[in-house]
């Protein structure tokens, strides 16, 4: 790997001057800017991953305490048949797919590409909002049927997880709006598409996270037991 090789450099030998090697670190700020945003996004996703990972660990550990009742299992439990969550997942998937379409490489015609992009972004916004509204409805339903946030720890975790996930989607939404806004103001096509591509990553990422959370939150207590056993809790 590159970084490993770099760590073995002998910088005190001045003939080891790999200035050529650093030619990619060009001083063109514009190029640096898009690359930088990409690097920053990678690190940001790492941070978010750690965040969800840690909550998951505490979840698995907490699930082994006697007062924990999983949200699925016997048919009367709310997520034994999680139709609503499947619908929401479909919305998020559609949002993730449509934002993908906004950056697919141009067809023959600029205008067609442009129209498609605008359309794709509108759909992204629509489906993302539907997802968030859907999640809120699930919350309402749960509370109404007696699964309040301070009831069982499984409920608490459901609200916590979906809440944090939803906040991240909302944050991404604001970033997307900002990207579009900058585009409208500066009409800098290259940079716009580069930023848009980062948004695409983010949406895909959030979709994957959601699917994992979905699987985790709707598993039965037997599954938790097995995982906890494998992890040694």
């Amino acid at each position: 790997m590159n970084i490993i090789r770099q760590l073995f450099n002998k910088p005190w030998l001045s003939d080891h001057a790999d200035i050529a090697d650093s030619s990619n670190q060009t001083q063109c700020l514009k190029l640096t800017q898009t690359q930088s945003t990409k690097t920053a996004l990678v690190f940001f996703l790492m941070v978010v991953t750690v965040l969800f990972f840690l909550i998951t660990i505490t979840f698995l550990s907490r699930s082994q305490y006697p007062d924990f009742t999983a949200l699925s299992g016997p048919p009367w439990l709310p997520f034994s048949n999680p139709v609503t969550l499947w619908v929401n997942s479909a919305f998020l998937l559609l949002a993730s797919v449509s934002i993908r379409f906004s950056v697919i490489s141009q067809p023959f015609n600029e205008r067609v590409a442009h129209t498609r992009m605008v359309l794709a972004l509108c759909l992204t916004g629509l489906f993302s909002c539907l997802f968030l509204i859907g999640q809120l409805l699930v919350w309402k339903q749960l509370t109404a049927s007696g699964y309040a946030v301070n009831g069982n720890p499984a409920n608490s975790y459901f609200y916590l997880f979906t809440g944090i996930h939803g906040l991240h989607l909302a944050g991404g939404f604001i970033a997307l709006i900002r990207v579009v806004f900058i585009f409208v103001k500066q009409a800098d096509n290259e940079r716009f598409r580069a930023s848009l591509r980062l948004c695409v990553w983010y949406w895909h990422y959030l979709f994957i996270v959601w699917m994992l959370l979905f699987a985790l939150l709707t598993a039965s207590s037997g599954t938790y037991k097995t995982i906890a056993l494998l992890c040694g809790f």
């Binding site: 970084i3 002998k10 670190q25 060009t26 690359q35 930088s36 940001f44 305490y65 944090i164």
Partner: protein, 590 residues
């Protein structure tokens, strides 16, 4: 990104958002500034300000311990509040913010030859968010019930139960403030990491960076990966407090009534907290390691001994620091195999750490040591750090830790290693870089006086504390009362420590005076007064102005440690001097 072309024409280049945000007017220049140097100073001043508050709190604690029953305004409640606020302010709002927000911000772009951070706006946002977190923190002094007194570790269940000081409002503000701080840190941290990776000037390979940058770089990555643990614990504890969930709260009786909480796990909180807490000590230590390396090399006119080893040690310490956290939890109880695992990893981390100490010593060995004020503090750091590291080895062993845990021995350990040592480096760094920031030298005589008061004074404070710990004096106690196994003479010792602490505290006024006096009256600094090689001293104007490099960014030809190279005309060769120049001319970087 294949389809993005490098922009060809130079005029266009200048207009992209990198540095061309030359501000006009006082507000744009010093308040809403996007310039990393101004933001660094804003960060530093704020951090030092809260640090002074924490210093006053520690003096109050010492007064109570040294002369119990003399001060009616200190009661057990306020004592616990002082302990808590002192600890958390010092560790997070002073050290983390000053080392990364202050020095990180100032030095990163200058040392890598960039004009600014890659995201100047985010950088500004980071500072203002930090300021909000500080304000929320300070606000907790003024709400009913006062700030929280749960200890800086904020362990549940007591942190949010009645009976603990500040259990109503104080703890809420504390958790909120921490969450805001973490957001601020994440914004800043993403910026530092990205800038170091992406904005290095031509020729500045990773392995040519000064060790300061390596320390800051790895510490920032540690912070990005560790702070989420604190964020998670803060959020979950807020849930427990506000919404009545039972993440951490066990079924519990409080004041004779059984509460609504069911079987949550306080130990879970401890794991989360220390998964953050241990890396945090290295978030503070690594930048200090880096800066002290540069100070030592510069003032001993020698290349740093074992540069590659130093870099690897920093990386190794960073990695290892994520697998030792449970050494803070030996007394909480755990599977003996886990105890064994964590004791082993803890002791392994001492290997790269000791390596660094040897390398500092070997750098000094036969160096042309200039006994400047920064060098004094750097040598002081080697003493205090070795000292604290050795007691760490004791505490890392489960069997030794069990009796010593929660005694003054631990207080002595962590103050030596993460209190005094980073502060020593911070002073070294301030004396070293003050001329760069302000264009004036700090007064040397006052600096040396300040050093001796601080160095001898802190030893007078913390050395006896080890002994108190052996006697079994517990930490975080308002008063010892009638404790059979503790001899009366500890009271005399405590009084002595308090006197030393007050002297050290007052001694810092010398420093503050020196700062303010030198700002206006200090000797004018020549460019590059210490004749250092690293880039931050090679700016066309000194102190550097907006954009740092005038119209051409520097090109780097060598690493940062070409001191006393045989065959070179001067005993230092700046990084941006090509071989042809330094072999021929007499002038060096001046």
């Amino acid at each position: 990104m294949k389809e993005i072309q490098p922009v060809a024409d130079d005029n266009h280049d200048d207009s992209c958002d990198g540095y061309n945000h030359q501000p006009s007017g006082f507000i744009a220049k010093y308040v809403w500034s996007l310039d990393h140097k101004v933001i660094a100073i804003q960060y530093s001043v704020t951090a030092i300000f809260v640090g002074l508050i924490a210093l006053v709190l520690s003096a109050l604690m010492r007064l109570q311990l040294g002369f119990p029953d003399h001060f009616s305004f200190i009661d057990p409640t306020s004592y616990l509040q002082y302990v808590t606020m002192h600890g958390i302010i010092m560790v997070i709002y002073l050290l983390t913010a000053l080392l990364l927000g202050g020095f990180g911000n100032y030095l990163i772009p200058l040392m890598i030859g960039a004009r600014d951070m890659v995201f100047p706006f985010l950088n500004m946002l980071s500072f203002w968010t930090y300021l909000v977190s500080v304000i929320v923190l300070i606000a907790s002094f003024f709400v009913t019930g006062g700030p929280t007194g749960a200890g800086w570790t904020l362990y549940p269940p007591q942190a949010i139960l009645q009976g603990t000081p500040g259990a109503d409002n104080g703890i809420l503000l504390m958790l909120l403030s921490l969450a805001i701080f973490i957001i601020a840190f994440t914004m800043g941290g993403l910026n530092y990491v990205t800038t170091i990776l992406q904005a290095r000037t031509r020729g500045m390979t990773l392995m040519r960076m000064p060790l300061t940058l390596w320390g800051i770089f790895i510490a920032t990555i540690l912070g990005l990966l560790a702070f989420p643990a604190l964020l998670v614990s803060a959020i979950m504890m807020l849930f427990d407090k506000l919404l009545g969930t039972s993440f951490f709260m066990p079924a519990i009786l409080s004041l004779g009534e059984s509460l609504d909480y069911t079987g949550g796990s306080p130990i879970l909180f401890q794991h989360l907290f220390w998964f953050f807490g241990h890396p945090e000590v290295y978030i503070v230590a690594l930048p200090a390691f880096g800066m002290v390396s540069d100070v030592i090399a510069t003032h001993a006119r020698k290349n740093i001994f074992g540069y590659r080893m130093m870099v690897w040690a920093i990386v190794a310490i960073g990695g290892l620091s994520f697998v030792v956290w449970a050494h803070h939890m030996y007394v909480s109880g755990m599977n003996p195999y886990f105890g064994f695992f964590f004791a082993t990893t803890t002791l392994i981390i001492a290997v790269p750490t000791a390596l660094k100490v040897y390398n500092w010593l070997l750098t000094l060995w036969r160096g042309n040591i200039h006994f400047t004020v920064p060098m004094f503090f750097a040598i002081g750091f080697i003493f205090t750090f070795t000292h604290g590291g050795l007691t760490g080895l004791f505490l890392g062993n489960v069997i030794v830790d069990l009796p010593l845990s929660d005694t003054f021995f631990v207080v002595a350990h962590f103050h030596m290693v993460m209190g005094v040592s980073p502060i020593m480096v911070l002073f070294a760094a301030i004396y070293h870089w003050f001329p760069l920031v302000t264009g004036r030298m700090l007064h040397t005589g006052l600096g040396k006086l300040h050093f001796w008061v601080t160095f001898l004074g802190t030893y007078a404070i913390y050395l006896p504390m080890h002994y108190l710990g052996f006697l079994g004096v517990p930490r975080r106690y308002f008063a010892l009362g009638d404790t059979n196994f503790i001899p009366d003479s500890t009271q005399t010792l405590n009084a002595g420590i308090t006197v030393a602490a007050l002297i050290v505290g007052v001694g810092q006024l010398i420093f503050i005076f020196n700062l303010i006096w030198s700002l206006r009256r200090g000797k004018k600094a020549v460019a590059n007064p210490w004749q250092a090689t690293s880039l931050e001293w090679q700016t066309p104007q000194c102190p550097p102005v907006h954009g740092n490099w005038g119209d051409k960014v520097p090109v780097v030809y060598r690493w940062a440690y070409d001191y006393s190279v045989p065959g070179h005309k001067t005993d230092f060769t700046p990084q941006n001097k090509p071989d042809s120049e330094c072999l021929l001319t007499d002038k060096g970087g001046l």
